[in-house]
Symmetry: C2
Subunit: 340 residues, 2 copies
């Protein structure tokens, strides 16, 4: 058990100086300072109380405390395009001189000529092809080095900051709070497992083995006398939609007590979480803040941007099932760590 600053403050408040310090200690004691007081914050605090206080009828043994978080749009910004898609496009541009044939071949042609209109209509098959070309043909160590180089230098448009600066401070607080309360926190992402693992520990304090994601086939081989895992241009597992429930069962083998998402691809993860007994927390981030971040849906009457879709059907399901919709605009006092 790690002793945290909050534990110390709590212990202090509970003893000699209780009376005098009580109001101050309440403020210091807030595990979610970037959250406005409202139903979303209250739901998190109630859930943690219900599942971790020994006297609670909904108490959950520490071994079973599992929480899962989608990444794109839930832990960090996914607009105008997923970080990993930007990585793929950057890499494609770098590889292009060695592939003159791409100038005449879709979907590469559209990318290399900067045809945003055509790119916005890319099918899933197009993206699979782009990922296959840019993410394979090397071993896992070389891929990790490429991602590491990119993620520490590439800047996100609009904010002109590293992608890892665009992590949501309120969600980091939830991750930290749950972990302090004995939960094992997993990232369950439609993005590439091996991509996210490169920075998950540094950015989210989530260990590689607690990142569940999509993957391509890897093949064991011996190269110059050393074993390597070669990345093949074939999808292996797609951790999205129904795949998130499959992935959770395969990688964790336990049902989450709390699940956080933001789009249609998270629906089954929330359904799977809710189907368990006892206290369960299901939350969806709704991007309704065009001023501080982005606003898109189409759920809630916001623009339909085709990236991280939160549909009207998902909004209806959330209301029907009692899933908490987090309003970025109203529930988050601060979005990024660099916000004042």
């Amino acid at each position: 058990m790690k002793i945290t600053r909050r534990d110390l403050i709590r212990a202090t408040a509970a003893t000699a100086v209780r009376g005098a310090l009580a109001p101050a200690s309440v403020a210091f004691d807030d595990p979610l300072p970037s959250w406005s007081n409202g139903p979303a914050k209250k739901a998190i605090l109630t859930f943690v109380k219900d599942t971790t206080e020994k006297s609670s009828p909904k108490y959950v043994e520490p071994n079973d405390r599992v929480a899962t978080f989608d990444q794109d749009g839930t832990l960090w910004t996914e607009h105008p395009l997923y970080g990993q898609a930007m990585f793929a496009l950057d890499r494609l541009a770098k590889m292009a001189p060695q592939h003159p044939e791409w100038k005449e071949t879709d979907p590469f042609k559209a990318i290399l000529s900067g045809d945003r209109e055509a790119m916005s209509k890319f099918s899933e098959k197009d993206w699979v092809e782009i990922v296959a070309v840019t993410h394979s043909g090397m071993d896992t160590a070389d891929f990790q080095a490429l991602v590491s180089q990119w993620i520490t230098t590439a800047k996100a448009p609009r904010f002109d900051r590293l992608y890892t600066d665009l992590v949501y401070q309120p969600m980091l607080e939830v991750v930290t709070y749950l972990r302090e309360k004995g939960f094992r926190v997993y990232i369950v992402t439609g993005g590439g497992q091996e991509f996210v693992r490169v920075y998950s520990e540094r950015v989210y304090n989530v260990a590689p083995e607690q990142v569940v994601g999509s993957s391509i086939v890897t093949k064991y081989d011996i190269s110059s006398g050393k074993p390597v895992l070669m990345r093949e241009p074939k999808p292996f597992f797609i951790d999205d939609g129904p795949g998130k429930a499959v992935g959770i069962n395969m990688f964790i083998g336990k049902r989450p007590y709390a699940a956080f998402g933001n789009s249609n691809g998270d629906q089954q993860m929330l359904e799977w979480t809710q189907a368990g007994d006892g206290a369960r927390l299901m939350m969806l981030v709704h991007h309704d803040d065009a001023t501080r971040e982005y606003a898109y849906g189409p759920g809630g009457g916001l623009p339909d941007t085709h990236v991280g879709i939160f549909s009207d059907a998902l909004m209806a399901d959330a209301n029907k099932n009692g899933w908490i919709v987090i309003s970025m605009k109203d529930d988050w006092k601060r979005i990024f760590a660099f916000d004042k």
Copy 2:
């Protein structure tokens, strides 16, 4: 940090009563009491010292301390047949009345007529078919219930004991010792991930999320309004041979510092482990004890039984690479917990 009985004894021995109690404390202090003093035991103790003492040049940060164990033949008995194969055969017999066609169809015919000769010649394709039929067509919860019922009642031949009684006491000691020293212990098995997870926590103190194994395809579905994961009769991932290196990378994302196996299917796991920097421990259990357990190879001139093959080539590789071969007969004072 948990305080163990050994820590207390150590602390006691180190203070007032040091002189008087020293000889006794050495005996009490042995983390591997079922191991004979020999090169195998020494290799384990040296590895732990090298990787966990802060002053060691080969010190490994706690976050990176990963150890992987094969299951069949490494943690428990795999003869005359893998436990899970026995489960499949038992289940096939139970299902047979609903499948009269099996009496005329291979490989089921051979099993139902008790044709041991034909069964011993089953190909991998035959076994895949047997597993597909007996392990699918139900959801994950129903499968877990079936395994749970079987594993707590079925008896292993020869010993007439539960399969979980046939766990190797010396290996349990290694698992416990490594965990006490900050290692995360994973089971990396060619057997079914969902099968082993049913009893891994109870028997080995290894949590479900730390069991990496073979799996079949599961499909998300809604049944009577509740989400389920249906088990399909299709292999998804084969965690054997090269698949063990792939599985370790996929599920753990970190290279093990120690790997324990016993057969050809563990070769790539040991190669992958050894390819890392610093102190690495690679060990293979050699079943050379027909009196207390079983004796088979063909490596080391023992009978070739086709279950858990330890080939001459693997023995040559072990010698060449400095992998430690554990002699059951010489290195283990005791094999099972029920041994005197």
